[in-house]
Symmetry: C2
Subunit: 476 residues, 2 copies
């Protein structure tokens, strides 16, 4: 049957999750490959999801007083080197520009891997007085990191992101803002993407290069691997000291500013796929879906098409709705709507039209329901709400059922081997144990929860007194 | 007087237009300089204008069926070289990446100066059948061109833009689409930016590298210089042949696609400044202004601030409105509102409040009018409409009064020397005359009008038979 074809082209997720992911990315037409090795082409459907993400996040940023700006794409090597930890973290993975036109440059420039140094350079010049604070800037742009192995949306040599960079008068204010932006990310994931997250701090080992504290939200993919989904960094006054960003306070005293940065990327599209997708393809939560409702004629008679056009224009102000009028068979159209994860479809055939009804089919459960044409708006609204809720609940249940507690090292290693998910384990605070755990199991410390948790007194690895509970896991 | 200070910091436009421009760009806080030579920092106010431009243009593109995508930022040298004219046009001014991380690349990559080659490379892989056509793609991104001399917004080593790239089944369709997008640009300039434009074709000399036809909109700055403000290119099947972009038509015959590209840039911000600005700073048309109405308390008593807050929330759905509650003096706030070109301000003092009135001051004419607080919404709406119209009419009159007709070469050279503006002059069609005119006068051929015009039979330069009327001018 033709309607099976599209689904048949993708691998089942239980058989080979990595291959399933690649298949969905391609068949749902989210991205394409290019001749530029390790770089991706984001196709219209993938980009439309990104635009919705941008719209939502950008309005939240603005509610928090954040303003958008644009900084140069290139960073002179000397500028990158100003903060010691930062350059060590990034220099090995940047692309270097050595020639401008026909001339060799007197100094190499790197294509920005992140823009802390540019913002600092700018702030040093632009901040003078307490009246200039806080600076709450953000930019939407692309960055380049020369990764050795790449994977669509998850790890590539270039990705799109937003990077917020703020400067504050006090350490307290910077600390508070770091957490506030983490909360913005967490709310976006839970309410819009329907992805539950764990919130916490990174260990020193996993911190951002140059930060005194890195906060993270981590989500759990369908295969039980963790995905770092957004980070927010508190820099203290480290960058300010390296770049000389000082202001005179109300008492006319010179002080260094305290800074933060925070970012999310096109990687979030990868999270959507791997959290909600199934063997028929992508499943998008209605609040982020570029098309929420696809109208599909069972026969493309003039009468039906006219009626669908009327329905579309009646619903256009309420939903993101589209009609599939391509010359494909209905079954193929269903399969495409499923592959692309469009939350809801309406089927309308000649007999339906006679009876003044249509069939609504939801993507998440594939449940069908016959609905009177007069009630479509209300009913579709209800179902979309329910899909949003259902996807979140399902992902939440999956997360909850994949958090395990390890009380000793044998148990820890067994779990890491056999139970995909997060492992809660106490930790002594030493880098040595983190390294050993990673070497033995490939699991890394994902986060220390914001609200302290405890399941024992001794480190799950070395048995010395424990300082913190850590969520461990294998990660993308 | 404090309120004079900000204005005193800018040069008068008649005294030194170039300095006036730089002063406005800085004092209106549109951009900042960075340590990266030739690159600019777009500050929040400049970026907010750009965001409004994006919003307007993007929705027009989408109405025309255009979809947004994202292509890699880097182009392998071999890909750039595939189309002969194109590489000749761009290779001398690109930035070259030679190292990724610690490794030297086997092939140099350039940072995209424009993305025709990437889109073509993608289309060659993605287009197979007539069902895949047309492809109407656009991307919003930044590009790098290694300019020797730079100027904020007008010419810099990196700028933000949109670049549309389309592929069509027939030459007719591509030709039609090229002009359609030119019209989108022209409408945007006239209706939103309040900038009248001339529409036309470029001569072969001024065409885009690789195009068979380049269309342009040109606007006239206050100093009488032209600004190329948006271009739309018809590539015919030249790129398709170079990249092998073929499709099978309904008769199962292989054909090359026909392509277009079209772009506008942050340079449009430069146009806004130089068309509408005056000696008090920027003047923004209401339809593009990030803030349309600034509420300014004459005294920051609780009563007045409360009332202003009420007024703001009453108007928030109708206008982009803000309150200036900074601890500066009212006169300074007026001067800032003027410098930033905010179209309208409302002044509210204690006596006004008693009398239930306020004062509205429009930026373009500086006219003041006392208005009852009950009528603010209606009155402000009327005035903003009138400002939009007035700015357009003024710019239109300026354009009309700066178009001159030259009938012989002596007259042409005199006009080019003494009369800033466009010169209409007949042209034989030979590159030689274009070169001579440029050498003698620095004026270049700006465009051949879409609707043919004529003021004589012989070339204004060589006196041989004329083929076309050309608008000549000195340009940014």
């Amino acid at each position: 049957m033709a309607e099976k074809k599209l689904v048949e082209q993708i691998t089942s997720m239980d058989e080979d999750f990595a291959q399933w992911y690649t298949d969905v990315v391609k068949k749902a037409q989210l991205m394409g490959y290019s001749s530029v090795k390790g770089f991706m082409v984001i196709k219209p459907y993938g980009y439309a999801i990104w635009e919705n993400m941008q719209k939502e996040l950008d309005s939240k940023f603005k509610e928090n007083g954040v303003q958008n700006v644009y900084m140069p794409m290139l960073i002179p090597e000397s500028l990158l080197q100003k903060e010691k930890d930062h350059v060590e973290g990034f220099a090995p993975e940047v692309a270097w520009v050595t020639h401008g036109g026909e001339d060799e440059l007197s100094e190499r420039y790197c294509v920005r891997p992140t823009s802390e140094t540019l913002f600092c350079d700018f702030y040093a010049d632009d901040i003078h007085s307490y009246r200039d604070l806080p600076k709450l800037y953000n930019q939407w742009c692309s960055v380049v990191r020369w990764e050795k192995t790449t994977r669509p949306f998850l790890r590539s040599r270039e990705f799109l992101w937003q990077e917020g960079h703020t400067a504050h008068a006090t350490a307290e204010e910077a600390g508070e803002f770091t957490v506030r932006m983490l909360d913005v990310y967490a709310d976006f994931f839970e309410n819009i993407l329907a992805i539950p997250v764990l919130k916490g701090r990174k260990t020193d080992k996993e911190k951002f290069a140059g930060a005194i504290e890195t906060y993270t939200i981590e989500s759990l993919m369908h295969d039980g691997k963790a995905l770092q989904s957004g980070t927010s960094h508190n820099f203290g006054d480290g960058f300010a000291r390296a770049f000389g960003i000082q202001y005179t306070d109300r008492e006319n005293k010179l002080s260094y500013v305290h800074q933060t940065s925070w970012g999310t990327t096109t990687r979030m599209i990868g999270a959507l796929i791997m959290v909600h997708g199934d063997d028929s393809g992508l499943v998008l939560p209605p609040r982020i879906a570029p098309t929420q409702l696809m109208l599909i004629p069972i026969r493309t008679s003039e009468e039906i098409v006219t009626r669908l056009r009327e329905i579309k224009s009646a619903l256009d102000n309420t939903f993101r709705v589209d009609i599939d009028l391509s010359d494909k068979r209905p079954g193929w159209k269903f399969s495409e709507q499923e592959m692309r994860g469009i939350p809801l479809r309406m089927e309308l055939g000649p007999r339906d039209l006679e009876n003044g009804v249509c069939v609504l089919v939801r993507r998440d459960t594939k449940e069908k329901v016959e609905v009177s044409l007069d009630e479509v708006e209300d009913k579709a609204g209800e179902i979309l709400e329910d899909i949003q809720k259902n996807l979140y609940e399902k992902a939440k249940a999956h997360l909850k059922s994949h958090i395990y507690d390890a009380y000793d090292y044998e148990q820890f290693c067994e779990m890491a081997e056999e139970k995909p998910g997060f492992i809660r384990g106490m930790w002594c605070g030493e880098r040595e144990c983190e390294d050993k755990i990673k070497e033995d199991t490939t699991a890394t410390s994902r986060l220390i929860p914001l609200k302290e948790e405890s399941i024992g007194d001794t480190c799950v690895c070395c048995k010395k007194p424990a300082k913190k509970l850590v969520y461990w896991g294998k990660a993308y």
